[in-house]
Point group: C2
Chain length 137, copies 2
């Protein structure tokens, strides 16, 4: 049992953060199984996610905690968190408001490889990023 | 267009390998959408995967190319490869023979977090690792 009353730390203590203190989180629609994005969490963002049941990550580019949807409104309600055999990768099963991708697609994985090595779009555009984030984004 | 006849390199040139020369690949069942594992690829293993349509990774622990299933027989036939907006994460959509996880489960993500912070098993055991890999594994 953990230090706080009634809080079991066995999950948190199983997570292996890398040498930067981060763990990758695969984000999946909890109903369809569609993979929406991958992001990175530090222990603080993981604890916030567990408490609030809203996905919170560590932004490597901005070097700060990042509550998903804080700018765009495209929050992620978290239904389940899974951990892999090695403890170094997580899955978040979420309900995604709007699109997950800053480009405007439902999923960040909106391109697939063709047989000849070129790519094609394979997803749906959900919003116009200029309208959501402003022209400067 | 690429250097080789008829081979378009636009996908390969879009992939952003990290400072170790690696990119994470999320491995998903191509029919059910279930996430089976996450592994790492270098450019060579990605090119092998594209050519053979069998998943090939870079083993960070063994520091060598790793054709998935070479020991266990649990190969992954690759149907699609997707790439994210930043070009730094891939999805492989596969058909998995047996289980993906070396512990014997169908998916490496065989544990989920409970409300109180403890964990429970949420997946099916597919094989006995001692029988597949031998007692020393």
């Amino acid at each position: 049992m953990g230090d706080n009353e009634g809080i079991d730390k066995s999950f948190l203590d199983t997570v292996k953060f890398d040498d930067r203190g981060l763990v990758p989180a695969i984000v999946q629609d909890h109903e369809t199984g569609k993979v929406l994005m991958m992001a990175w969490m530090n222990r603080e963002s993981l604890e916030m996610t567990l408490e609030r049941k809203k996905a919170c990550y560590w932004s490597r580019s901005r070097n700060k905690l990042w509550l998903k949807g804080e700018s765009s409104g495209n929050m992620q309600e978290v239904f389940d968190i899974l951990i892999d055999c090695d403890g170094d990768t997580l899955i978040l099963k979420v309900s995604q408001i709007g699109g997950a991708c800053h480009v405007g697609y439902h999923s960040c994985f909106y391109r697939k490889v063709n047989e000849d090595g070129s790519m094609q779009i394979c997803d749906t555009l959900m919003f116009n990023p200029e309208e959501v984030y402003g022209k400067k984004h």
